[in-house]
Chain length 333, copies 2
Protein backbone atom coordinates (compact mmCIF):
# COMPACT_ATOMS: atom_id res chain seq x y z
CA UNK A 1 0.00 0.00 0.00
CA UNK A 2 1.50 3.35 -0.96
CA UNK A 3 1.80 5.87 1.86
CA UNK A 4 1.62 9.65 1.89
CA UNK A 5 4.11 11.22 4.28
CA UNK A 6 4.43 14.85 5.26
CA UNK A 7 7.71 16.63 5.85
CA UNK A 8 7.39 18.15 9.34
CA UNK A 9 9.25 21.33 8.40
CA UNK A 10 7.92 22.39 4.98
CA UNK A 11 4.61 20.51 4.94
CA UNK A 12 5.62 18.93 1.62
CA UNK A 13 3.86 15.61 0.98
CA UNK A 14 5.64 12.71 -0.70
CA UNK A 15 4.31 9.41 -1.95
CA UNK A 16 6.33 6.45 -0.68
CA UNK A 17 5.32 3.94 -3.34
CA UNK A 18 6.97 0.95 -1.77
CA UNK A 19 5.48 -1.59 -4.19
CA UNK A 20 7.48 -0.13 -7.08
CA UNK A 21 11.18 -0.77 -7.69
CA UNK A 22 13.22 0.13 -4.67
CA UNK A 23 16.34 -1.89 -4.04
CA UNK A 24 19.69 -0.32 -4.96
CA UNK A 25 20.06 -2.69 -7.92
CA UNK A 26 16.62 -1.73 -9.30
CA UNK A 27 17.76 1.71 -10.41
CA UNK A 28 19.38 2.16 -13.80
CA UNK A 29 22.50 3.73 -12.43
CA UNK A 30 24.98 5.89 -14.22
CA UNK A 31 28.24 5.26 -12.39
CA UNK A 32 30.48 8.32 -12.35
CA UNK A 33 34.02 7.53 -13.49
CA UNK A 34 36.91 9.95 -13.89
CA UNK A 35 38.52 10.14 -17.31
CA UNK A 36 41.27 12.75 -17.00
CA UNK A 37 43.37 13.40 -20.05
CA UNK A 38 41.74 16.63 -21.19
CA UNK A 39 42.92 20.11 -20.32
CA UNK A 40 41.55 21.09 -16.89
CA UNK A 41 41.45 24.72 -15.67
CA UNK A 42 41.27 23.51 -12.05
CA UNK A 43 44.56 21.56 -12.14
CA UNK A 44 47.75 23.04 -10.62
CA UNK A 45 49.75 24.89 -13.24
CA UNK A 46 46.60 26.21 -14.95
CA UNK A 47 45.76 28.81 -12.30
CA UNK A 48 45.77 31.62 -14.87
CA UNK A 49 42.96 29.96 -16.81
CA UNK A 50 40.48 30.82 -14.04
CA UNK A 51 39.62 34.30 -12.72
CA UNK A 52 42.07 35.31 -9.93
CA UNK A 53 41.54 33.42 -6.67
CA UNK A 54 39.62 34.95 -3.79
CA UNK A 55 40.93 32.42 -1.26
CA UNK A 56 43.49 29.64 -1.13
CA UNK A 57 45.02 27.43 1.51
CA UNK A 58 48.59 26.79 0.46
CA UNK A 59 51.83 25.36 1.80
CA UNK A 60 53.91 27.51 -0.53
CA UNK A 61 53.80 29.71 -3.61
CA UNK A 62 52.19 33.03 -4.49
CA UNK A 63 48.45 33.50 -5.12
CA UNK A 64 47.43 32.04 -8.49
CA UNK A 65 50.46 29.76 -8.53
CA UNK A 66 50.67 26.05 -7.63
CA UNK A 67 51.16 25.12 -3.95
CA UNK A 68 47.51 25.27 -2.81
CA UNK A 69 45.41 22.52 -1.31
CA UNK A 70 42.02 24.27 -1.65
CA UNK A 71 41.40 27.18 -3.99
CA UNK A 72 38.33 29.42 -4.43
CA UNK A 73 37.81 31.41 -7.64
CA UNK A 74 34.91 33.34 -9.16
CA UNK A 75 32.94 31.28 -11.66
CA UNK A 76 34.13 32.11 -15.16
CA UNK A 77 30.50 32.12 -16.39
CA UNK A 78 28.75 33.56 -13.34
CA UNK A 79 24.99 33.31 -12.91
CA UNK A 80 25.13 36.56 -10.93
CA UNK A 81 27.54 39.50 -10.83
CA UNK A 82 28.92 41.70 -8.10
CA UNK A 83 28.02 44.95 -9.89
CA UNK A 84 24.52 46.42 -9.62
CA UNK A 85 21.99 47.66 -7.13
CA UNK A 86 19.05 46.18 -5.28
CA UNK A 87 16.56 48.53 -6.89
CA UNK A 88 13.48 46.80 -8.26
CA UNK A 89 11.99 47.77 -11.58
CA UNK A 90 8.48 47.26 -12.86
CA UNK A 91 7.49 46.12 -16.33
CA UNK A 92 3.73 46.50 -16.26
CA UNK A 93 2.56 43.91 -13.77
CA UNK A 94 5.99 42.27 -13.53
CA UNK A 95 9.00 42.87 -11.26
CA UNK A 96 12.69 42.51 -11.92
CA UNK A 97 16.04 43.54 -10.45
CA UNK A 98 19.72 43.40 -11.39
CA UNK A 99 21.28 39.97 -11.04
CA UNK A 100 23.46 41.08 -8.12
CA UNK A 101 25.36 38.42 -6.25
CA UNK A 102 28.39 36.18 -6.28
CA UNK A 103 29.05 32.84 -7.92
CA UNK A 104 32.27 31.09 -6.90
CA UNK A 105 33.90 27.71 -7.36
CA UNK A 106 35.61 25.87 -4.50
CA UNK A 107 38.31 23.63 -6.04
CA UNK A 108 38.47 20.92 -3.41
CA UNK A 109 41.85 19.38 -4.15
CA UNK A 110 44.82 19.80 -6.49
CA UNK A 111 44.34 16.12 -7.47
CA UNK A 112 42.32 15.69 -10.65
CA UNK A 113 41.80 11.94 -10.41
CA UNK A 114 40.25 11.73 -6.93
CA UNK A 115 36.53 12.20 -6.26
CA UNK A 116 35.25 14.13 -3.23
CA UNK A 117 34.46 10.88 -1.37
CA UNK A 118 37.99 9.66 -2.04
CA UNK A 119 39.71 12.70 -0.52
CA UNK A 120 41.46 12.36 2.86
CA UNK A 121 39.41 13.53 5.86
CA UNK A 122 41.72 16.52 6.45
CA UNK A 123 41.18 17.69 2.90
CA UNK A 124 37.39 17.56 3.25
CA UNK A 125 37.72 19.46 6.52
CA UNK A 126 39.65 22.17 4.62
CA UNK A 127 36.78 22.43 2.14
CA UNK A 128 34.40 23.14 5.02
CA UNK A 129 36.83 25.75 6.39
CA UNK A 130 36.73 27.38 2.96
CA UNK A 131 32.90 27.41 3.10
CA UNK A 132 33.15 29.14 6.48
CA UNK A 133 35.81 31.66 5.42
CA UNK A 134 33.96 32.63 2.25
CA UNK A 135 30.74 33.10 4.21
CA UNK A 136 32.46 35.40 6.73
CA UNK A 137 33.97 37.44 3.90
CA UNK A 138 30.83 37.68 1.73
CA UNK A 139 28.51 38.57 4.60
CA UNK A 140 30.24 41.95 4.81
CA UNK A 141 28.45 42.83 1.55
CA UNK A 142 25.10 43.99 2.91
CA UNK A 143 23.35 43.52 -0.43
CA UNK A 144 23.71 39.75 -0.13
CA UNK A 145 21.02 38.06 1.92
CA UNK A 146 21.68 34.37 1.38
CA UNK A 147 24.69 32.19 0.62
CA UNK A 148 24.15 28.68 -0.71
CA UNK A 149 26.90 26.06 -0.94
CA UNK A 150 26.23 23.10 -3.19
CA UNK A 151 27.90 20.40 -5.17
CA UNK A 152 27.05 18.77 -8.50
CA UNK A 153 28.93 15.49 -8.86
CA UNK A 154 28.85 13.77 -12.25
CA UNK A 155 27.37 14.98 -15.51
CA UNK A 156 23.81 13.63 -14.84
CA UNK A 157 23.79 15.76 -11.66
CA UNK A 158 24.76 18.88 -13.59
CA UNK A 159 28.57 18.95 -13.29
CA UNK A 160 30.35 20.28 -16.38
CA UNK A 161 33.93 19.73 -15.14
CA UNK A 162 35.04 16.49 -13.46
CA UNK A 163 37.80 17.91 -11.22
CA UNK A 164 36.30 17.80 -7.71
CA UNK A 165 34.66 21.13 -6.87
CA UNK A 166 31.69 22.68 -5.16
CA UNK A 167 30.08 26.07 -5.70
CA UNK A 168 28.60 28.96 -3.81
CA UNK A 169 25.93 31.35 -4.98
CA UNK A 170 25.27 34.46 -2.90
CA UNK A 171 21.84 35.97 -3.55
CA UNK A 172 20.17 39.33 -2.92
CA UNK A 173 16.92 37.57 -1.88
CA UNK A 174 16.26 34.62 0.42
CA UNK A 175 15.25 31.79 -1.91
CA UNK A 176 11.78 30.27 -1.78
CA UNK A 177 12.80 26.80 -0.64
CA UNK A 178 14.81 28.21 2.28
CA UNK A 179 11.93 30.56 3.18
CA UNK A 180 9.61 27.56 3.32
CA UNK A 181 11.95 25.88 5.81
CA UNK A 182 12.34 29.04 7.86
CA UNK A 183 8.60 29.63 7.98
CA UNK A 184 7.73 26.00 8.70
CA UNK A 185 10.34 25.82 11.46
CA UNK A 186 8.98 29.08 12.91
CA UNK A 187 5.41 27.73 12.98
CA UNK A 188 6.61 24.62 14.79
CA UNK A 189 8.60 26.73 17.25
CA UNK A 190 5.67 29.04 17.94
CA UNK A 191 3.49 26.03 18.71
CA UNK A 192 5.93 23.79 20.59
CA UNK A 193 8.60 26.24 21.77
CA UNK A 194 11.14 23.75 20.45
CA UNK A 195 13.25 23.56 17.32
CA UNK A 196 11.76 21.08 14.83
CA UNK A 197 15.22 19.85 13.80
CA UNK A 198 16.26 19.30 17.44
CA UNK A 199 13.08 17.25 17.89
CA UNK A 200 13.89 15.32 14.73
CA UNK A 201 17.41 14.55 15.97
CA UNK A 202 15.98 13.29 19.28
CA UNK A 203 13.25 11.13 17.72
CA UNK A 204 15.52 9.69 15.02
CA UNK A 205 18.38 8.89 17.41
CA UNK A 206 15.91 7.13 19.71
CA UNK A 207 14.07 5.11 17.03
CA UNK A 208 17.23 4.35 15.05
CA UNK A 209 15.36 2.99 12.03
CA UNK A 210 16.34 5.86 9.74
CA UNK A 211 19.84 6.46 11.10
CA UNK A 212 22.67 6.09 8.57
CA UNK A 213 25.53 7.00 10.90
CA UNK A 214 25.86 8.87 14.17
CA UNK A 215 28.79 10.56 15.88
CA UNK A 216 29.39 12.82 18.86
CA UNK A 217 28.35 15.93 16.93
CA UNK A 218 26.18 14.75 14.02
CA UNK A 219 23.33 12.52 13.02
CA UNK A 220 23.04 11.40 9.38
CA UNK A 221 19.53 10.14 8.60
CA UNK A 222 17.23 9.14 5.79
CA UNK A 223 14.53 11.78 6.45
CA UNK A 224 10.95 10.65 7.20
CA UNK A 225 9.50 12.12 3.99
CA UNK A 226 12.36 12.09 1.46
CA UNK A 227 11.77 13.40 -2.06
CA UNK A 228 14.34 11.05 -3.55
CA UNK A 229 15.52 7.46 -2.97
CA UNK A 230 18.54 7.33 -0.63
CA UNK A 231 18.32 11.05 0.17
CA UNK A 232 20.38 11.63 3.35
CA UNK A 233 20.45 14.60 5.72
CA UNK A 234 23.40 15.45 7.96
CA UNK A 235 22.22 17.41 11.01
CA UNK A 236 24.33 18.76 13.89
CA UNK A 237 23.11 17.39 17.24
CA UNK A 238 23.52 20.66 19.07
CA UNK A 239 21.25 23.53 18.05
CA UNK A 240 22.82 26.07 15.70
CA UNK A 241 21.17 28.20 13.03
CA UNK A 242 24.30 29.43 11.22
CA UNK A 243 26.87 27.09 9.69
CA UNK A 244 29.58 29.74 9.91
CA UNK A 245 29.58 29.56 13.73
CA UNK A 246 30.92 25.97 13.57
CA UNK A 247 34.21 25.46 15.42
CA UNK A 248 37.17 23.19 14.75
CA UNK A 249 35.93 20.04 16.55
CA UNK A 250 32.61 20.34 14.71
CA UNK A 251 34.17 20.78 11.25
CA UNK A 252 36.59 17.94 11.89
CA UNK A 253 33.71 15.66 12.82
CA UNK A 254 31.61 16.91 9.89
CA UNK A 255 34.39 15.96 7.47
CA UNK A 256 34.36 12.40 8.83
CA UNK A 257 30.56 12.12 8.63
CA UNK A 258 30.37 13.60 5.13
CA UNK A 259 33.10 11.29 3.85
CA UNK A 260 31.40 8.30 5.45
CA UNK A 261 27.99 9.12 3.96
CA UNK A 262 29.44 9.63 0.46
CA UNK A 263 31.51 6.44 0.66
CA UNK A 264 28.57 4.39 1.88
CA UNK A 265 26.48 5.82 -0.94
CA UNK A 266 29.26 5.07 -3.45
CA UNK A 267 29.34 1.51 -2.19
CA UNK A 268 25.61 0.79 -2.11
CA UNK A 269 24.74 2.69 -5.29
CA UNK A 270 27.98 2.15 -7.24
CA UNK A 271 29.36 5.70 -7.32
CA UNK A 272 26.18 7.49 -8.40
CA UNK A 273 25.98 11.09 -9.58
CA UNK A 274 24.76 13.24 -6.69
CA UNK A 275 24.11 16.74 -5.41
CA UNK A 276 24.52 18.15 -1.95
CA UNK A 277 23.24 21.47 -0.67
CA UNK A 278 23.83 23.21 2.62
CA UNK A 279 20.88 24.98 4.22
CA UNK A 280 21.81 27.60 6.80
CA UNK A 281 20.15 30.76 8.12
CA UNK A 282 20.19 33.99 6.08
CA UNK A 283 23.50 35.74 6.73
CA UNK A 284 22.21 38.94 8.31
CA UNK A 285 19.84 37.26 10.77
CA UNK A 286 21.21 36.85 14.26
CA UNK A 287 20.91 33.52 16.10
CA UNK A 288 17.54 31.87 15.39
CA UNK A 289 16.15 29.55 18.09
CA UNK A 290 13.84 27.88 15.53
CA UNK A 291 16.22 27.17 12.64
CA UNK A 292 19.01 24.61 12.43
CA UNK A 293 21.59 24.33 9.66
CA UNK A 294 22.04 20.99 7.88
CA UNK A 295 23.29 19.36 4.67
CA UNK A 296 21.07 17.44 2.23
CA UNK A 297 22.78 14.79 0.07
CA UNK A 298 20.76 13.62 -2.95
CA UNK A 299 21.95 10.79 -5.19
CA UNK A 300 20.58 11.16 -8.72
CA UNK A 301 18.79 7.86 -9.36
CA UNK A 302 15.38 8.79 -10.74
CA UNK A 303 14.08 11.30 -13.27
CA UNK A 304 11.96 14.21 -12.18
CA UNK A 305 8.98 14.26 -14.54
CA UNK A 306 5.67 15.97 -15.24
CA UNK A 307 4.05 14.90 -12.02
CA UNK A 308 6.74 16.45 -9.85
CA UNK A 309 6.91 19.67 -11.93
CA UNK A 310 3.16 19.97 -11.84
CA UNK A 311 2.66 19.40 -8.16
CA UNK A 312 5.85 19.82 -6.13
CA UNK A 313 4.77 16.41 -4.86
CA UNK A 314 7.42 13.70 -5.05
CA UNK A 315 7.04 10.04 -5.81
CA UNK A 316 9.71 8.01 -4.04
CA UNK A 317 9.94 4.26 -4.61
CA UNK A 318 12.31 3.57 -1.68
CA UNK A 319 11.06 3.80 1.93
CA UNK A 320 13.68 5.72 3.94
CA UNK A 321 13.83 2.92 6.52
CA UNK A 322 15.11 0.58 3.78
CA UNK A 323 17.50 3.14 2.33
CA UNK A 324 18.93 3.78 5.82
CA UNK A 325 19.36 0.06 6.42
CA UNK A 326 21.30 -0.42 3.19
CA UNK A 327 23.55 2.55 3.93
CA UNK A 328 23.98 1.69 7.62
CA UNK A 329 24.95 -1.89 6.82
CA UNK A 330 27.41 -0.98 4.07
CA UNK A 331 30.97 -1.59 5.23
CA UNK A 332 33.64 0.72 3.89
CA UNK A 333 36.42 -0.74 1.82
CA UNK B 1 24.03 41.55 -17.18
CA UNK B 2 22.01 38.76 -15.58
CA UNK B 3 18.52 39.72 -14.45
CA UNK B 4 16.36 38.48 -11.58
CA UNK B 5 12.69 38.20 -12.51
CA UNK B 6 9.78 37.39 -10.27
CA UNK B 7 6.81 35.27 -11.25
CA UNK B 8 3.76 37.44 -10.55
CA UNK B 9 1.66 34.51 -9.32
CA UNK B 10 3.92 32.44 -7.06
CA UNK B 11 6.59 35.03 -6.21
CA UNK B 12 9.26 32.60 -7.45
CA UNK B 13 12.44 34.37 -8.59
CA UNK B 14 14.42 33.14 -11.57
CA UNK B 15 17.82 34.21 -12.87
CA UNK B 16 17.78 35.02 -16.57
CA UNK B 17 21.48 34.58 -17.26
CA UNK B 18 21.44 35.83 -20.80
CA UNK B 19 25.23 35.84 -21.21
CA UNK B 20 25.36 32.04 -20.94
CA UNK B 21 24.42 29.67 -23.76
CA UNK B 22 20.95 30.39 -25.02
CA UNK B 23 20.28 29.73 -28.68
CA UNK B 24 18.42 26.53 -29.60
CA UNK B 25 21.60 25.03 -31.04
CA UNK B 26 23.55 25.69 -27.82
CA UNK B 27 21.74 22.98 -25.89
CA UNK B 28 22.97 19.41 -26.05
CA UNK B 29 19.70 18.00 -27.22
CA UNK B 30 18.49 14.47 -27.00
CA UNK B 31 16.13 14.11 -29.96
CA UNK B 32 13.27 11.72 -29.23
CA UNK B 33 12.85 9.13 -31.94
CA UNK B 34 10.36 6.27 -32.03
CA UNK B 35 11.78 2.77 -32.35
CA UNK B 36 8.77 0.46 -32.35
CA UNK B 37 9.43 -3.24 -32.74
CA UNK B 38 9.06 -4.29 -29.11
CA UNK B 39 5.90 -5.62 -27.52
CA UNK B 40 3.69 -2.67 -26.51
CA UNK B 41 0.81 -3.04 -24.03
CA UNK B 42 -0.81 0.12 -25.41
CA UNK B 43 -1.14 -1.16 -29.00
CA UNK B 44 -4.50 -2.47 -30.33
CA UNK B 45 -4.77 -6.22 -29.86
CA UNK B 46 -2.95 -6.08 -26.50
CA UNK B 47 -5.85 -4.63 -24.52
CA UNK B 48 -5.80 -7.50 -22.04
CA UNK B 49 -2.22 -6.67 -21.03
CA UNK B 50 -3.43 -3.51 -19.25
CA UNK B 51 -5.93 -3.28 -16.37
CA UNK B 52 -9.52 -3.06 -17.75
CA UNK B 53 -10.33 0.29 -19.35
CA UNK B 54 -12.27 2.97 -17.47
CA UNK B 55 -13.07 4.93 -20.63
CA UNK B 56 -12.71 4.53 -24.36
CA UNK B 57 -13.90 6.35 -27.46
CA UNK B 58 -14.48 3.71 -30.11
CA UNK B 59 -16.02 3.30 -33.54
CA UNK B 60 -16.70 -0.39 -32.96
CA UNK B 61 -15.90 -3.35 -30.72
CA UNK B 62 -16.51 -4.27 -27.10
CA UNK B 63 -14.63 -2.67 -24.16
CA UNK B 64 -11.03 -3.98 -23.95
CA UNK B 65 -11.09 -4.96 -27.62
CA UNK B 66 -9.62 -3.11 -30.61
CA UNK B 67 -11.73 -0.39 -32.27
CA UNK B 68 -10.90 2.51 -29.92
CA UNK B 69 -9.31 5.84 -30.78
CA UNK B 70 -8.54 6.95 -27.20
CA UNK B 71 -8.41 4.57 -24.26
CA UNK B 72 -8.01 5.25 -20.52
CA UNK B 73 -6.80 2.50 -18.18
CA UNK B 74 -5.57 2.42 -14.57
CA UNK B 75 -1.77 2.48 -14.33
CA UNK B 76 -0.49 -1.06 -13.89
CA UNK B 77 2.00 0.18 -11.25
CA UNK B 78 -0.06 2.89 -9.59
CA UNK B 79 1.55 5.50 -7.35
CA UNK B 80 -1.75 5.69 -5.45
CA UNK B 81 -4.67 3.29 -4.94
CA UNK B 82 -8.42 3.67 -4.74
CA UNK B 83 -8.70 1.71 -1.48
CA UNK B 84 -8.15 3.42 1.87
CA UNK B 85 -9.36 6.27 4.02
CA UNK B 86 -8.34 9.86 4.59
CA UNK B 87 -7.50 9.30 8.24
CA UNK B 88 -4.15 10.73 9.25
CA UNK B 89 -1.80 8.84 11.55
CA UNK B 90 0.98 10.15 13.73
CA UNK B 91 4.41 8.62 14.16
CA UNK B 92 5.89 10.73 16.94
CA UNK B 93 6.29 14.17 15.40
CA UNK B 94 5.50 12.93 11.88
CA UNK B 95 2.24 12.60 9.91
CA UNK B 96 1.18 10.10 7.31
CA UNK B 97 -1.94 8.84 5.57
CA UNK B 98 -2.94 6.05 3.20
CA UNK B 99 -1.89 6.62 -0.39
CA UNK B 100 -5.50 7.06 -1.55
CA UNK B 101 -6.06 8.28 -5.06
CA UNK B 102 -6.14 7.28 -8.70
CA UNK B 103 -3.39 6.92 -11.26
CA UNK B 104 -4.53 6.39 -14.85
CA UNK B 105 -3.00 6.33 -18.30
CA UNK B 106 -4.62 8.06 -21.28
CA UNK B 107 -3.54 6.18 -24.42
CA UNK B 108 -3.75 8.97 -26.96
CA UNK B 109 -3.93 7.00 -30.19
CA UNK B 110 -3.99 3.42 -31.44
CA UNK B 111 -0.97 4.32 -33.62
CA UNK B 112 2.33 3.36 -32.03
CA UNK B 113 4.61 5.19 -34.46
CA UNK B 114 3.14 8.71 -34.18
CA UNK B 115 4.14 11.20 -31.49
CA UNK B 116 1.58 13.45 -29.78
CA UNK B 117 2.61 16.44 -31.92
CA UNK B 118 2.13 14.33 -35.04
CA UNK B 119 -1.45 13.32 -34.25
CA UNK B 120 -4.30 14.87 -36.26
CA UNK B 121 -6.04 17.81 -34.57
CA UNK B 122 -9.24 15.81 -34.06
CA UNK B 123 -7.30 13.13 -32.21
CA UNK B 124 -5.72 15.66 -29.85
CA UNK B 125 -9.17 17.14 -29.27
CA UNK B 126 -10.38 13.65 -28.26
CA UNK B 127 -7.56 13.45 -25.72
CA UNK B 128 -8.79 16.67 -24.12
CA UNK B 129 -12.35 15.29 -24.11
CA UNK B 130 -10.98 12.28 -22.25
CA UNK B 131 -9.32 14.61 -19.70
CA UNK B 132 -12.69 16.28 -19.21
CA UNK B 133 -14.71 13.06 -18.96
CA UNK B 134 -12.28 11.50 -16.48
CA UNK B 135 -12.41 14.63 -14.33
CA UNK B 136 -16.22 14.62 -14.25
CA UNK B 137 -16.23 10.93 -13.27
CA UNK B 138 -13.48 11.12 -10.63
CA UNK B 139 -14.83 14.23 -8.95
CA UNK B 140 -17.75 12.15 -7.68
CA UNK B 141 -15.28 10.51 -5.28
CA UNK B 142 -15.31 13.05 -2.46
CA UNK B 143 -12.00 11.83 -1.05
CA UNK B 144 -10.15 13.21 -4.08
CA UNK B 145 -9.29 16.88 -3.87
CA UNK B 146 -7.07 17.44 -6.88
CA UNK B 147 -6.67 15.91 -10.35
CA UNK B 148 -3.48 16.53 -12.29
CA UNK B 149 -3.08 15.69 -15.98
CA UNK B 150 0.46 15.52 -17.28
CA UNK B 151 2.60 14.09 -20.01
CA UNK B 152 6.17 12.76 -20.03
CA UNK B 153 7.47 12.58 -23.60
CA UNK B 154 10.76 10.79 -24.20
CA UNK B 155 12.91 8.86 -21.78
CA UNK B 156 14.90 11.92 -20.50
CA UNK B 157 11.55 13.47 -19.51
CA UNK B 158 10.55 10.37 -17.53
CA UNK B 159 8.55 8.33 -20.07
CA UNK B 160 9.01 4.58 -19.74
CA UNK B 161 6.85 3.57 -22.75
CA UNK B 162 7.11 5.30 -26.11
CA UNK B 163 3.51 4.79 -27.32
CA UNK B 164 1.94 8.25 -27.04
CA UNK B 165 0.18 8.63 -23.68
CA UNK B 166 -0.50 11.05 -20.88
CA UNK B 167 -1.37 10.38 -17.25
CA UNK B 168 -3.65 11.56 -14.50
CA UNK B 169 -3.03 11.42 -10.78
CA UNK B 170 -5.93 12.19 -8.46
CA UNK B 171 -4.79 13.19 -4.96
CA UNK B 172 -6.40 13.41 -1.52
CA UNK B 173 -4.57 16.69 -0.83
CA UNK B 174 -4.06 19.82 -2.94
CA UNK B 175 -0.38 19.74 -3.90
CA UNK B 176 2.04 22.42 -2.73
CA UNK B 177 2.82 23.91 -6.12
CA UNK B 178 -0.87 24.33 -6.94
CA UNK B 179 -1.52 25.82 -3.48
CA UNK B 180 1.22 28.37 -4.14
CA UNK B 181 -0.53 29.41 -7.36
CA UNK B 182 -3.94 29.52 -5.68
CA UNK B 183 -2.63 31.59 -2.78
CA UNK B 184 -0.58 33.93 -4.96
CA UNK B 185 -3.52 34.47 -7.32
CA UNK B 186 -5.77 35.14 -4.31
CA UNK B 187 -3.38 37.78 -2.92
CA UNK B 188 -3.32 39.51 -6.29
CA UNK B 189 -7.11 39.38 -6.53
CA UNK B 190 -7.57 40.75 -3.01
CA UNK B 191 -5.32 43.68 -3.87
CA UNK B 192 -6.39 44.41 -7.46
CA UNK B 193 -9.85 42.81 -7.68
CA UNK B 194 -8.69 41.27 -10.93
CA UNK B 195 -7.46 37.82 -11.92
CA UNK B 196 -3.66 37.80 -12.30
CA UNK B 197 -3.85 35.47 -15.31
CA UNK B 198 -6.42 37.70 -17.03
CA UNK B 199 -4.06 40.64 -16.50
CA UNK B 200 -1.20 38.56 -17.87
CA UNK B 201 -3.20 37.68 -20.99
CA UNK B 202 -4.00 41.38 -21.53
CA UNK B 203 -0.43 42.62 -21.01
CA UNK B 204 1.16 39.85 -23.09
CA UNK B 205 -1.28 40.20 -26.00
CA UNK B 206 -0.65 43.94 -26.03
CA UNK B 207 3.17 43.81 -25.82
CA UNK B 208 3.47 40.80 -28.11
CA UNK B 209 7.15 40.18 -27.34
CA UNK B 210 6.54 36.92 -25.49
CA UNK B 211 3.66 35.64 -27.62
CA UNK B 212 4.25 32.28 -29.31
CA UNK B 213 0.84 31.96 -30.96
CA UNK B 214 -2.60 33.46 -30.41
CA UNK B 215 -6.07 32.38 -31.44
CA UNK B 216 -9.64 33.36 -30.73
CA UNK B 217 -9.70 31.45 -27.43
CA UNK B 218 -6.07 31.05 -26.34
CA UNK B 219 -2.77 32.80 -25.87
CA UNK B 220 0.44 30.74 -25.86
CA UNK B 221 3.31 32.69 -24.30
CA UNK B 222 6.84 32.35 -23.00
CA UNK B 223 6.11 33.47 -19.42
CA UNK B 224 7.92 36.52 -17.99
CA UNK B 225 9.89 34.51 -15.39
CA UNK B 226 10.25 31.00 -16.86
CA UNK B 227 12.10 28.32 -14.90
CA UNK B 228 13.29 26.58 -18.05
CA UNK B 229 14.45 27.61 -21.54
CA UNK B 230 11.57 27.58 -24.06
CA UNK B 231 8.95 26.95 -21.35
CA UNK B 232 5.56 27.84 -22.87
CA UNK B 233 2.20 28.44 -21.18
CA UNK B 234 -1.16 28.03 -22.91
CA UNK B 235 -3.79 30.23 -21.23
CA UNK B 236 -7.48 30.59 -22.18
CA UNK B 237 -8.33 34.21 -22.95
CA UNK B 238 -11.67 34.11 -21.18
CA UNK B 239 -11.60 33.67 -17.38
CA UNK B 240 -12.26 30.14 -16.18
CA UNK B 241 -10.96 28.40 -13.06
CA UNK B 242 -11.93 24.81 -13.94
CA UNK B 243 -10.73 23.04 -17.08
CA UNK B 244 -13.69 20.64 -16.99
CA UNK B 245 -16.12 23.48 -17.79
CA UNK B 246 -14.52 23.88 -21.25
CA UNK B 247 -16.98 23.48 -24.14
CA UNK B 248 -16.59 22.08 -27.66
CA UNK B 249 -15.37 25.25 -29.42
CA UNK B 250 -12.77 25.74 -26.67
CA UNK B 251 -11.47 22.17 -26.78
CA UNK B 252 -11.32 22.25 -30.57
CA UNK B 253 -9.29 25.43 -30.46
CA UNK B 254 -7.09 24.09 -27.64
CA UNK B 255 -6.21 21.07 -29.76
CA UNK B 256 -5.03 23.34 -32.56
CA UNK B 257 -2.97 25.53 -30.21
CA UNK B 258 -1.41 22.56 -28.40
CA UNK B 259 -0.47 20.87 -31.64
CA UNK B 260 0.99 24.12 -32.97
CA UNK B 261 3.09 24.73 -29.85
CA UNK B 262 4.44 21.17 -29.83
CA UNK B 263 5.22 21.25 -33.55
CA UNK B 264 6.99 24.60 -33.29
CA UNK B 265 8.98 23.26 -30.39
CA UNK B 266 9.81 20.09 -32.33
CA UNK B 267 11.01 22.24 -35.19
CA UNK B 268 13.11 24.73 -33.24
CA UNK B 269 14.52 22.25 -30.73
CA UNK B 270 14.65 19.14 -32.93
CA UNK B 271 11.98 17.00 -31.26
CA UNK B 272 13.12 17.42 -27.65
CA UNK B 273 11.89 15.38 -24.72
CA UNK B 274 9.25 17.42 -22.84
CA UNK B 275 6.66 17.46 -20.10
CA UNK B 276 3.34 19.22 -19.96
CA UNK B 277 1.14 19.70 -16.93
CA UNK B 278 -2.36 21.09 -16.62
CA UNK B 279 -3.09 23.34 -13.67
CA UNK B 280 -6.74 23.73 -12.83
CA UNK B 281 -8.73 24.52 -9.66
CA UNK B 282 -9.28 21.84 -6.99
CA UNK B 283 -12.26 19.74 -8.05
CA UNK B 284 -14.59 20.48 -5.14
CA UNK B 285 -14.16 24.25 -5.21
CA UNK B 286 -16.88 26.13 -7.04
CA UNK B 287 -16.03 28.85 -9.59
CA UNK B 288 -13.02 30.91 -8.42
CA UNK B 289 -12.81 34.52 -9.64
CA UNK B 290 -9.06 34.63 -8.88
CA UNK B 291 -7.82 31.39 -10.46
CA UNK B 292 -7.48 30.53 -14.15
CA UNK B 293 -6.64 27.11 -15.56
CA UNK B 294 -3.73 26.76 -17.98
CA UNK B 295 -1.22 24.29 -19.43
CA UNK B 296 2.56 24.53 -18.91
CA UNK B 297 4.77 22.92 -21.60
CA UNK B 298 8.40 22.34 -20.56
CA UNK B 299 10.99 21.02 -23.02
CA UNK B 300 13.76 19.14 -21.22
CA UNK B 301 16.96 20.91 -22.31
CA UNK B 302 18.92 21.57 -19.13
CA UNK B 303 19.74 19.58 -16.00
CA UNK B 304 18.28 20.55 -12.67
CA UNK B 305 21.20 20.56 -10.23
CA UNK B 306 22.21 21.39 -6.67
CA UNK B 307 21.43 25.07 -6.94
CA UNK B 308 17.83 24.48 -7.99
CA UNK B 309 17.24 21.71 -5.40
CA UNK B 310 18.75 23.88 -2.71
CA UNK B 311 16.85 27.05 -3.44
CA UNK B 312 13.79 26.50 -5.61
CA UNK B 313 15.43 29.30 -7.57
CA UNK B 314 15.93 28.59 -11.28
CA UNK B 315 18.77 29.57 -13.54
CA UNK B 316 17.54 30.03 -17.10
CA UNK B 317 20.01 30.85 -19.87
CA UNK B 318 17.37 31.83 -22.46
CA UNK B 319 15.41 35.09 -22.11
CA UNK B 320 11.74 34.33 -22.80
CA UNK B 321 11.58 37.12 -25.40
CA UNK B 322 14.18 35.23 -27.46
CA UNK B 323 12.53 31.86 -26.94
CA UNK B 324 9.18 33.31 -28.03
CA UNK B 325 10.75 34.84 -31.12
CA UNK B 326 12.28 31.53 -32.21
CA UNK B 327 9.00 29.69 -31.65
CA UNK B 328 6.85 32.41 -33.21
CA UNK B 329 9.02 32.56 -36.32
CA UNK B 330 9.18 28.79 -36.80
CA UNK B 331 7.11 27.78 -39.82
CA UNK B 332 5.39 24.43 -39.70
CA UNK B 333 6.29 21.81 -42.24
Amino acid sequence: MPELRKDPVTGRWVIIASDRSRRPSDFSRETVTLHGGRFCPFCPGNELKTPPEVLSYRSHGEPNQPGWSVRVVPNKFPALRVEGTLERHGEGMYDKMDGVGAHEVIIESPEHMTTFGGLPEKQIESVFWAFRDRTLDLKRDLRLRYILFFKNHGEPAGASLEHSHSQLIALPVVPKRVLEELEGAKRYYDFKERCVYCDMVRQEAESGSRVVVETEHFLAIAPYAPRFPFETWIIPRRHSSHFETADAPLLENLAWVMRTVIRKQDRVLECPPYNFVMHTAPVHESHMPHYHWHIEVIPKLTKVAGFEWGTGFYLNPTPPEEAARYLRDAGLA
